[in-house]
Structure formats: structure tokens, C-alpha cells
Amino acid sequence: MLRLVGLKKQYRTGDQALKGVDLIVPDGQVMALIGPSGAGKSTLIRCVNRLVEPTGGQVFLGDMELTKLSRWALRLARRRMGMIFQEYALVERLTVMENVLSGRLGYVGFWRSWFRKFPKEDIREAYRLLDRVGLMHMADKRADELSGGQRQRVGICRALIQNPELLLVDEPTASLDPKTSRQIMRLINELCAERGLAAIINIHDVLLAQMFSQRIVGLEMGSIVYDGPPDQLTPEVLTRIYGEENWEETIGKVEDEELDEEDDFAVETPGRMTSGSDS
């Protein structure tokens, strides 16, 4: 369980990115975090694993207070949180396998990692995950030879091989086409279900958020302005989060995967909504 208590972040430039956020994410819950650009979504998830240092409030993972850990303890705690990035953030000159195995760095000693001599279980797990996301044959390719969708799947493997309790996902689909976006979101969703993982997913695509999460939290100007199930995302709620706009067309009925409407965030591609047969 992840618990944020009065979490605040003020950047040195003076931007108050988070204004005392209280939030509880129970085990196994996939939560989508939506909000306009600059609302503080990235700041929020980065404050959880302290890639950004919060300036106030507390973060608890289970019983452990992450916000008061020493550097050493923080490093050990980070192993329990997998992170997935918008631009994939793979180390481009390393192979796919090295990128996946880098998720185990927190568990192996320096010399083992230096010589790429990871424990047998780790290597088996890496292959299993790559197979699961359909990239078994890519293991020896260099990360910069992959397409965006493939890279993101490697990014997912890297996060999962940490064997985390929580996934922090920052706009996983922002650089992907609509169909690949769905595949990636579905994959994250299935993997979370398989492993009982909790996840916070920052996402701009409201429709995707509704389709692939159990709960939606709306952030605006550093404060939570909506917290509820996906199907209660009414035009009034979207106006509260994003401001005035005609929202009727944006909102999906969650069960309906065959929606054929235009939304503001996705690129129109003929036939983009007719997938569903992909793995």
C-alpha cells in the first residue's frame, strides 16, 4: 500500500508543483492519474521514489516512510518500486538483455554486474519476461535498434524484473501510436493483475485511462480535484480537471472497446479502434 500524506513540492524556481496531496493506493490497484500539462503528475510520481525530493509531507510504502530514508536505505527501497518512462529511457547503447537485467542492479553486487554475470534465476526471469512481451528474439539487439513500442515493452520488463510492489508509470503511451498505446496499456494492466501489483499511471488520454484503470485521480494545479471510478468521469468532472471544453465526445463507456469517437489527445488513424486481437 502506498500512502501520501500532505505531500508538497516546491521547485527552486518557486513553482508550487504539489500543494499537499493526500492519497492512498491499496495493494493491487491500478490507478490512473490525469490532469492538464503542468498539473504536477510527473512531480507526484517522482516524489514517491524520490527522484525528486519532496519539500513537505510524507510518503509511506507499506509501513516504511520513504521520505525519511537515508540514501542507502532509499536505494534498497527503490528496488520495490518499478518505474516506466514516457521516452522509455532505455540505455540506448546497451543490449535489450542488459537493459532488462539492469532492473536487478539493486540486488547484485558490483563485480557481478560489471562482468554481466547475473544469477541464473535473473537471466531466466529476464528471458521469461521478454517472451511474455513478445521480444524473446530481440534479446541481443541494441536498444536503439528497436521501435518505440518495442522499447516500451523492454522498459516494462526492466521495471518488472525488479519484482516490485508498485509501478510508477509516467505517460507510457505519449510517444506511441494509438494501437500500440492500447497494447502497452493492456500489457501493463495484465501484468499488474498477474502479479497483484499496484500502479500509478500518468496519462493524458482520458479514454485509455478509463479503459485500463480501476480508479481515476484528477490533479490540477498540484491538488487532487477528482478521485473516483472511471465511469463517473462526467463532463463536469473533466471541466473541473482540465477547464472548460466540450467533453461529451471524450468520455468513453468503459465496457465499450469499439468506440469510434474522436478525442482531443489521440491521433486519428483509420481503423485504430478495431484492434483487440493483439496480444
Partner: protein
């Protein structure tokens, strides 16, 4: 919006905004620079008679160079070349080995402020003096011979390599570094997995380039007593054996060319 919209009139010329906004300041800088340049050229004394005397002397000099004599002092030249190659290689290796910790410490995004300032000071220090000056110091300290040359070139290598390494690290992709940090990697693992792959290809290319520089510098360093082919070259000049000197210069050019081509090749290969 019931009014009839008035079609706006758009300008049809556009100029790039100037770098310095104030026109007065801009023009006074240009004018000042022009005046200084004119004054500087005006005060430079060129003695044309001396230039005229120098030209035929240069001609005689060149004549003495040809044909280059590879045969007569073969043994000495070969020893000098070997010594220079050895000097270039070990000073490159030692210099780079020392440059790695210094370069890491001099990257603002890795090191805390005081470590950064300390390492930048080391780099600035070793960059202040050209290799010849360093060699003169080293010869005073350790006496004539290749050891002095080795010390001078190693210090010169630090100023070069550590600085470029630090700069390369400062330009790396922050996202890749953060991703590895987020896995719970230790500092050394982070360097090995996130930083090293990003800077490695360029640093290998620069290592070969530095080897090339060190080899060329070894000729200069030798002239002030630092051993190597420079010492041989100096002796040849002192004895007016210009044909041998020409042979040495040609050999240096040849070796530098080989290094040039192999560094290009190597760089392509490691990319």
C-alpha cells in the same frame, strides 16, 4: 462575436532579432573591435628586408633536407622512434587512468559542488601550461630523459581528457541516468550502466586522438630534454644533419597518418 471580422494586415518583412538588443552598444562593440584591430596591425613591425633575406635562407634549408637520409643514423633514429612510441603509449594510458576519476569528479551532474570545484581546478591547472613548459619543469625535477617526457605528457593528457570526459558526462541523457538510478543501483553500478555506455564511444575516439597528440608532442618535449624522437631530431639539427632530420620528420608524419586513419576506423567501429 457578431461584428464582421476585420481581416488583419500582416507585415511582410521579418528580421532576425539581433543578439545584442541595444543598437548603440552593438555598434560601439563593432567599432571598438575595428579600431583595436587596426591599431594592432599598425604597431606590428614587419621588417621587409629581413623577410627578403629569410626567403633564400629558407630555400637553402629546404635544399639541405633533400634527399632525406634514412640510412646513416638508422640505429639512433629507430631508438628514438621506439622511445617516443613507448612514451606516447604509457603517458596516454597513465593520463587517461588518472583522468577518469578526475573527469567524473569534474562533472557537475555527478559531483557535489566542492568536489567539482576541486577537480575543475586540477584540470585548469594542467591546461594552463603547454606540454613544452611542463617538460621543462619535469626535466628540472627528474633530469634529462624519457621519464621527464612521460610526466609532462601524462599531465597534459589529464587536462585534455578529464575535461572532455566531464563535458561529455554533463551532456548525457538525464532520462537514461534516472532510469538506472530508479532501479536501486549503487553509485558504481549507475556509472557502469548509465554513464559509461553513453560516453564510451566518444572517449575511445578521444583516447586514440590523444595518443596521436602525445606522439607528436613527444617530438617537441624531446627538444627540451624529455627524451624520445625529439631528442634525436634536436641532435640531428645541432650536427647540421638536415637530411637525417628530414627523414625523422617524414617518419613522424607517417606515424601520425597511421594513427589518424586507425582512429577514424576505430571510432566507426565502436559507435
Amino acid at each position: 462575436m457578431t461584428d464582421q471580422p476585420v481581416a488583419p494586415v500582416y507585415p511582410n518583412t521579418w528580421k532576425r532579432p539581433p543578439l545584442i538588443k541595444s543598437g548603440l552598444l552593438r555598434w560601439s562593440i563593432v567599432l571598438g573591435a575595428a579600431i583595436y584591430l587596426a591599431a594592432a596591425i599598425g604597431t606590428m613591425e614587419i621588417n621587409w628586408t629581413r623577410v627578403a633575406e629569410g626567403l633564400p635562407r629558407g630555400q637553402r634549408f629546404l635544399d639541405a633536407f633533400f634527399p632525406p637520409n634514412f640510412a646513416d643514423n638508422r640505429g639512433v633514429v629507430w631508438d628514438g622512434i621506439q622511445e617516443s612510441i613507448w612514451m606516447a603509449i604509457i603517458s596516454t594510458v597513465a593520463g587517461i587512468a588518472l583522468s577518469i576519476p578526475i573527469g567524473l569528479g569534474a562533472a557537475r551532474n555527478l559531483a557535489p559542488k566542492w568536489v567539482y570545484l576541486f577537480n575543475r581546478a586540477i584540470i585548469a591547472g594542467s591546461r594552463t601550461f603547454p606540454e613544452v613548459i611542463l617538460a621543462i619543469f619535469a626535466v628540472k625535477l627528474f633530469g634529462f630523459g624519457p621519464f621527464a617526457g612521460f610526466i609532462a605528457l601524462s599531465i597534459g593528457t589529464i587536462g585534455f581528457y578529464a575535461k572532455l570526459l566531464a563535458e561529455d558526462i554533463e551532456n548525457m541523457s538525464e532520462a537514461q541516468a534516472e532510469a538506472i538510478k530508479a532501479t536501486g543501483a549503487t553509485w558504481f553500478q549507475w556509472i557502469n550502466y548509465a554513464i559509461q555506455p553513453q560516453v564510451m564511444p566518444r572517449m575511445i575516439g578521444l583516447a586514440v586522438y590523444r595518443l596521436d597528440i602525445n606522439f607528436r608532442e613527444s617530438a617537441v618535449v624531446g627538444i627540451v630534454g624529455g627524451g624520445g624522437i625529439g631528442a634525436t631530431l634536436n641532435t640531428a639539427f645541432d650536427r647540421y644533419e638536415f637530411d637525417t632530420a628530414a627523414a625523422i620528420l617524414l617518419i613522424i608524419i607517417g606515424i601520425v597518418l597511421v594513427l589518424e586513419y586507425s582512429s577514424g576506423y576505430l571510432r566507426k567501429w565502436v559507435q
